[in-house]
C-alpha cells in the first residue's frame, strides 16, 4: 500500500488515475441519477432547491474536472512513454505530485458537502457575483475554488511533464512525425492547458480574494465588473472542452486504425487539425457570452464556425481510415463507432449554437445541455470506455470479456441517446437549465420522463461494466503482448510492461513499429 502511495512509476500512476477517475465517475453518475430522478415528473419534491443546486454543481464539476480531464492525462501518463519508447516520463516525481494534487483537490471539492451551508451551489461555472454570495457560512464555495485550484495545478504540471517527455525522451528512430496520433493529441492538449489554465486560476483566485479579502473585482457597486469573470472563466473554459476531447480523438484514432487493419488516413492532416483546433479554441471563448450584450458577437461567431473545419477534417480521416479496411467490431471498435455517431450530433448542434440568433434561444436551455452531453458524454465518455477495453490488457495482463462488453456498449448507447435526444426538444420548448423543477406544460413531462428512463439504462450499463471488471479480475485470462494485433510501440512489450518499460527497445523505422 505504501508502495502505491510513494510510487513514481508512470504506469502505476496512470493506473491510479484510472481508478480514482472511475470512483469519481460513480459518484458523479449517482448525482446524475438524482438529477434525473428529481426531474422525472414536474413539481417533484425528491430534492429541495438548495440540495438540487449542489447536486448539479457537483455533477458537472466532477464529470469535467475529476473524470473526463484526468482520464485523458492519466491514460497519457501510462501510454505516452510506452508509445515513444521512453523509460518513464521526464519528471517522475512531478508526475506523482500531479496525481495526488488531483485526488486531494477532488476530495476537497466534495468536502464542501460536510460544511454547514453545503457544497458549492453555483453551477460548475460559478459566475460572479453569484459566487460571492454565502449560503449559511459559504465554506463549500471556498472549498470548491481551492479544490479546483489544486486540480488545475496538477493539470499544468502534468502537461509540462508530458511535453518535455515527448520532446526529449523519444527512442532512437522515433522522430516527431512517427509518433502515434494519441501522443500528438496529448502534445496539443498539453500546450492548450498551458495557455488556458492560468486564466482559470486567476478567475478563481480573484473570486477568493473578493470573498475573503474585501476586494471588488467582480462587484459592480464598487466599480468591478461581473463580465470580467466571464471573460477570464471562458478564456479557460472553452479551451478546457478541447482539453476534454483532444486526447479522446487520439484514443479513437488508435482504435479505428487497429481494427480497420490500416494506417491512419491523413496522418499529417490529423496533426495539423489538432493544433488548428487547439489554436482556434483560444479565440472563441465569448461564444458562451453571446447573450451578455458585452462582446463582439460576429467575431466569436466567425471563429466558432471555423473550428468546425478541422474537426470535420478529423471525421473524414477516421472514415478514410476505415475505408477499404477489414473492420472487426470488437468492443473498443463498437465504442469508437458510437463515438463517431454521437460526437457528430454534438458537433452539428455546436455549429448551430455558434450562430447568435440560434443561441439567443438555445443559451442556458436544455438545448445546450444536450449539445455538451453529446460531445463530452457521447464523445469523450464513449471514447473513455473504448480506451479502457483497448488498453486494459496492456495495463493488467488479462482481458475484459468481449460478450459482456457488447452488452455494456448496447446499454450505454441506447441509454445515452434515450436520455439526451429529448433534451434538444425540451430546450426548444423553453425549458431552462439548472432548474430543480419545471411546470407541467407542453411536452416537458413526457420528454423528461423519457430522459429519466434513458438514464436508468445508462446506469445499468455502467453497473454491468463494473461487474465485468470484477469478473475479469477473478478469471484472469492472460492477454499476451499484443492481443489486438495493434501497431504502436506499446504493444511490443509485455503486458503489463516491466519496470522502465522495454527489455530491449525495438528499432523504430516507421509509424507502425509493431508491423
Amino acid at each position: 500500500m505504501i508502495e502505491w502511495l510513494t510510487t513514481t512509476d508512470h504506469k502505476k500512476i496512470g493506473i491510479m488515475y484510472v481508478v480514482f477517475v472511475l470512483a469519481f465517475f460513480v459518484i458523479a453518475g449517482v448525482l446524475a441519477g438524482l438529477i434525473r430522478a428529481q426531474l422525472a415528473v414536474p413539481n417533484n419534491t425528491l430534492l429541495g432547491a438548495h440540495a438540487y443546486n449542489q447536486v448539479f454543481t457537483l455533477h458537472g464539476t466532477a464529470m469535467i474536472f475529476l473524470v473526463i480531464a484526468p482520464f485523458g492525462f492519466g491514460l497519457a501518463n501510462f501510454l505516452v512513454p510506452l508509445q515513444i519508447g521512453a523509460p518513464d516520463v521526464a519528471f517522475p516525481r512531478l508526475n506523482a505530485a500531479g496525481l495526488w494534487l488531483f485526488v486531494l483537490g477532488g476530495l476537497t471539492v466534495f468536502a464542501g458537502l460536510a460544511t454547514y451551508g453545503g457544497a458549492a451551489a453555483t453551477g460548475w461555472t460559478a459566475y460572479a457575483p453569484l459566487n460571492e454570495y454565502f449560503v449559511g457560512t459559504g465554506a463549500g464555495q471556498d472549498l470548491f475554488f481551492i479544490g479546483l485550484l489544486m486540480t488545475s495545478i496538477s493539470t499544468i504540471l502534468t502537461s509540462i511533464n508530458l511535453l518535455v517527455t515527448v520532446f526529449l525522451l523519444r527512442a532512437p528512430g522515433m522522430t516527431m512525425w512517427r509518433i502515434p496520433i494519441f501522443t500528438w493529441e496529448i502534445v496539443a492538449t498539453s500546450l492548450l492547458v498551458l495557455m488556458a489554465f492560468p486564466s482559470l486560476a486567476a478567475a478563481f483566485a480573484m473570486a477568493l480574494i473578493d470573498r475573503h479579502m474585501g476586494a471588488h473585482f467582480f462587484d459592480p457597486a464598487f466599480g468591478g465588473n461581473p463580465v470580467l469573470y466571464q471573460h477570464l472563466f471562458w478564456f479557460f473554459g472553452h479551451p478546457e472542452v478541447y482539453v476534454l476531447i483532444l486526447p479522446y480523438f487520439g484514443m479513437i484514432t488508435e482504435i479505428i486504425a487497429t481494427f480497420s487493419r490500416k494506417p491512419v488516413f491523413g496522418y499529417v492532416g490529423m496533426v495539423i487539425s489538432a493544433f488548428a483546433i487547439a489554436g482556434l479554441s483560444l479565440g472563441v471563448w465569448a461564444h458562451h457570452m453571446f447573450t451578455t450584450g458585452a462582446v463582439s458577437n460576429p467575431f466569436f461567431s466567425a471563429v466558432s464556425f471555423l473550428i468546425a473545419v478541422p474537426t470535420g477534417v478529423k471525421f473524414v480521416n477516421w472514415i478514410g481510415t476505415m475505408w477499404k479496411g477489414a473492420i472487426s467490431l470488437t468492443v473498443p471498435m463498437l465504442f469508437a463507432v458510437g463515438f463517431l455517431l454521437n460526437f457528430l450530433i454534438g458537433g452539428i448542434t455546436g455549429v448551430m449554437i455558434a450562430s447568435p440568433p440560434i443561441d439567443y434561444q438555445a443559451h442556458d436551455s436544455y438545448f445546450i445541455v444536450q449539445h455538451f452531453h453529446y460531445t463530452i458524454g457521447g464523445g469523450s465518455l464513449f471514447a473513455l470506455f473504448g480506451a479502457l477495453y483497448f488498453w486494459f490488457p496492456k495495463m493488467f495482463g488479462f482481458r475484459l470479456d468481449e460478450r459482456l462488453g457488447r452488452w455494456v456498449f448496447a446499454l450505454l448507447f441506447l441509454g445515452f441517446n434515450a436520455t439526451f435526444i429529448p433534451m434538444g426538444f425540451m430546450g426548444m420548448e423553453g425549458m431552462a437549465r439548472r432548474v430543480y423543477t419545471y411546470p407541467a406544460v407542453g411536452h416537458l413531462p413526457m420528454l423528461n420522463a423519457i430522459a429519466t428512463l434513458g438514464s436508468a439504462l445508462m446506469a445499468l450499463g455502467a453497473i454491468l461494466f463494473f461487474v465485468e471488471v470484477l469478473l475479469a479480475v477473478r478469471r484472469r485470462i492472460p492477454a499476451g503482448d499484443n492481443p489486438w494485433g495493434a501497431y504502436t510501440l506499446e504493444w511490443m512489450t509485455s503486458s503489463p510492461p516491466p519496470e522502465f518499460n522495454f527489455e530491449t527497445l525495438p528499432a523504430v523505422r516507421s509509424r507502425r513499429p509493431a508491423l
Binding site: 492532416g269 478514410g320 434561444q361
Partner: protein, 201 residues
Amino acid sequence: MRTDWYIFIAAGVAVGIFVYVCIGWCLIAYRDRSGRVAEQFENNKPLEILYLVIPLLMVFALFGVTYAIEMPIDRVTGPPNRIAVTAFRWSWRFEYPNGTSTAGTPTKPPTLYLPVGRSTQIELRSDDVTHSFWVPAFLFKRDAIPGMINVFDVTPNRTGRFVSRCAQFCGLDHALMSFVVEVVPQSTYARYLAGNGTVTP
C-alpha cells in the same frame, strides 16, 4: 429568426445523413470477412484538399446567413415606448413609460404587457446577480447583468400570452423565476397604461 433555425437544421441533417451513410457503408462493405485484405493507403492529396475546402465554404455561407439575420435583431432604433425591466432574486419588476410599475414573486409571476405591431425598447437591469430575460416564443433572450444596462427592441407581430422565464442560474429559486409576456392590441395597452396598472386587460 426562425429562418436561422430552419437553415441550420437543414444543413445539419444533410451533413449528418451523409456522414452516417459513409460510416454505415464502411461497417457493412468492409466488414472483416475471411480472406479480406485491407488496402494499405495513407492519404489522397486531392481528396484531403477537397474536404478542407468544402467545409470552409459551408461555414462561410453559414456565417453569412448568421450575420444577415443577426444584425437587425441586435439593432436598437430607440422607439418611444420604453419599458425598464429589472431582475432580482427571484422575480421581475416592470416599469412602464408613464411610471406604472408592477413586480412579482416566485409564486406570483408578473405580467409584461406589450403592444402588438409596435416597437418597444426594453432596458434590462439587475438588482443583484446575473439573470437572463428569456421569452421562448420570441426565440430571444438577453442577460440582466448588475452594473450594466442591456437595451434591445422587440416588435411583437401577434397577440397572445407567452410564458417566459429567467435563464441564467441565479441561486435558490432560479427555477421559479418566471414571468408572462402578454401581447395585447394597442388600444388595450393604452388603457392599461392610463389605468396605472389597476386595469387588467
